[in-house]
Amino acid sequence: MIDVTTPPATGPKAPAKKRHRVYLPTTRHVPVLATLALLIVMYSVGVANYAGFGDTQVLLNIFVDNAFLLVVAVGMTFVILTGGIDLSVGSVIALTTTVTATLLAAGWPAGVVLPLVLLIGTVLGLGMGAVIHFFKVEPFIATLAGMFLARGLSLLINRNSIPITDEFWTEMAQKRFRFGEGVFISLNVVIALIVVVIAALVLAWTRFGRNVYAIGGNADSALLMGLPVGRTRIAVYTLSGFCASLGGLLYSFYTSSGYSLHGQGLELDAIAAVVIGGVLLTGGSGYVLGTVLGVLVLGLIQTIIAFQGDLNSWWTRIVVGVLLFAFIVLQRLVTRKAK
């Protein structure tokens, strides 16, 4: 037998000493750092080119306008980290806003409607998670069916846009936290940031968070290690369902209406945000902070187009595509070089 305990001889060691002061990020952090750096570059380009782009409120408005997307994308992060996908989130938003508006119009008290609509999305997520785990249906297909189901239900309830006039809802929608002259954030942003912080803590420092990464890394290994794979997998879809309905709630604050066509294509925005933030679709690698940056990138693209102002609908689409392309390619090049 050959002795395998002796470590293999390493190469020349000398150069390592001289360069120890250079900061080299961990490989796992590279995608997030690359996104952050490019985000700053993109923001600076915006500030340089458009008057008024540098206002604090412009930056805060990105959060105000995308708070619901942020919440949805956080839920999506958990799902994608386990190597799954959730296509139902956009439809769950539609269902949540439609049910909210319908029940409020029917005179139900806000205190009953609020937990009820949150429960709807959560139960739907639980159902999809159970189908995915127990019956081994592909996540893509199970959540696609969930997408049809939620959108179908909201169309069944009402095909038209319903305004929300409830006092509590109006108050929530108009609540502002001011930091100075013309500098404010809405309640939605506060809720979204709380969700982000909780999610980041759960993912980094709890057993559940570790399990999520372990399953995404290799589900079979996780099972052989004795981790509760089934429970965790069902939990992430439930969590994503909850986040989607909470996102729907924020959306109903934001638009003061319920409509069965709300949130169309939002699932792709959420997935794009998560992936731009450096999470691998195969699972096991990525951070909630990356997702926040991903949402900011999408928001910044919208803001730049709004400041440009003279783009018609098709040029807007093309420019969104080009900016997305430029961002992803740059990120890819930066990440590759660092490795």
């Binding site: 037998m1 050959i2 002795d3 395998v4 305990t5 002796t6 293999p8 296509l87 189908v131 127990f134 019956f135 081994k136 249906v137 592909e138 893509f140 297909i141 199970a142 696609l144 069916a145 969930g146 049809f148 189901l149 959108r151 179908g152 239900l153 169309l155 069944l156 095909r159 079979d220 792709l268 997935i271 794009a272 992936v275 731009i276 691998l280 679709l281 018609n312 609908s313 098709w314 040029w315 807007t316 689409r317 093309i318 969104v320 595509g321 080009v322 997305l324 392309f325 992803i328 390619v329 890819r332 590759r336």
Partner: protein
């Protein structure tokens, strides 16, 4: 009971159930008439209207076989229809066959370029397929609108109309095009080594490359194929309605195509694929849409109806579901358990073997 476990049994069963339920609601559903040398009837209509989805699903199958996904097919459909309608509008004689063929060729060529772009992003730059094709999905519709100037272009051209609405030998031309595409794909993947290479790249791109397969080239090729087929589907759609509508063309078709592929038994993780399954899946989905209308499901509940059928179909296809629910009535449960035990055995054997191999490695 073996037939129950064939992966295409349940989609086929749902197709039969849908057709029979059609018969209950409309008496002459299965009647096929010969009129002016054309076959007419609901069944022929299903064949005709399945054609675009079959084409898109065919390309999607190849992409999924390599472990990728293509979200841009709907936008590519819009681009091809838009370019064809724009160029035909410029022709001095839109009824001449030659120039129209040239236009069709140009439209498909543009789509192939779009596919090359997707393939470049995925294979050369190494961007995750869902994001790489999302770029073209977003921008592509913009390009299509740019081509048409944001309007719906109407065309009047007899040869162009043949593609989507014409008949040849009493059969719809679009059906014949789809059949030819299926035959071509089957011949390429099952009669040459291409199918094997695709499955190999889908299984593991790195291992394939180390085994001497040009996996990068194969990956680019499947995206080109997918875009080409989507382009033809876009021509069929736009020719059928004699216009180019950049918003409606191929709307949500990417999801339907992926659904068709998965219902047909191809896993999204890549590797093994089934062309017959995808075609069957596409026909099931089209029949489902047509049935919803003919049975008289109200417009509001069409989507719900579709969701319920898809859920039932997915559950029926899941061996675990059948074993858990119907287990006591059949031997399937024992089979599933046996399969699990075997898999566990194989895994243990693998682990042991790799242990042995590792200890053989010189230190």
């Amino acid at each position: 009971m073996t037939i129950l476990r064939h992966r295409l049994f349940w989609p086929a069963a749902v197709l039969v159930v849908l057709l029979i339920s059609n018969l209950v609601f409309s008496d002459n559903f299965f009647t096929i008439r010969l009129q002016d040398g054309h076959l007419y009837g609901s069944l022929i209509d299903i064949l005709r209207r399945s054609a675009p989805l079959v084409l898109v699903a065919l390309g999607m199958t190849l992409v999924i076989a390599t472990g990728g996904i293509d979200l841009s097919v709907g936008s590519v459909m819009a681009i091809s229809g838009a370019l064809a309608c724009l160029l035909i509008g410029d022709l001095s004689n839109p009824d001449a066959l030659g120039p129209v063929l040239l236009v069709v060729g140009a439209a498909i060529a543009l789509c192939l370029v779009a596919g090359l772009w997707n393939g470049f992003l995925v294979a050369v730059l190494g961007i995750q397929p869902i994001i790489a094709t999302l770029i073209l999905m977003v921008a592509g519709r913009g390009v299509a609108q740019l081509i048409t100037g944001g309007q719906i272009l109407n065309v009047h051209s007899a040869p162009y109309r043949v593609i989507g609405a014409g008949y040849f030998l009493a059969l719809p031309v679009s059906f014949l095009i789809a059949t030819a595409a299926v035959a071509l794909t089957v011949a390429l993947t099952r009669r040459t080594a291409l199918g094997l290479l695709l499955e190999s790249v889908g299984g593991s791109p790195t291992a394939s490359r180390l085994a001497g397969i040009r996996s990068r080239r194969i990956t680019i090729m499947v995206y080109v194929f997918a875009a080409g087929f989507a382009g033809v589907a876009g021509l069929i759609y736009s020719s059928d309605v004699s216009s180019a509508d950049s918003n409606a063309a191929g709307n949500l078709i990417e999801l339907n195509a992926i659904l068709a592929v998965v219902l047909g038994g191809t896993a999204l993780t890549g590797g093994r694929f089934s062309i017959a399954g995808s075609v069957l899946g596409a026909v099931v989905i089209t029949t489902l849409d047509i049935t919803a209308v003919s049975v008289g499901v109200p417009v509001e509940t069409t989507l719900l109806f579709k969701a319920v059928v898809v859920i039932i179909l997915c559950l029926a296809q899941s061996a675990t579901f059948r074993a858990k629910v119907f287990g006591r009535f059949s031997a399937e449960r024992a089979d599933v358990q046996r399969a699990d035990v075997q898999r566990a055995d194989v895994q243990t054997a693998d682990v042991q073997r790799s242990d042995v191999e590792r200890s053989d490695v010189p230190g």
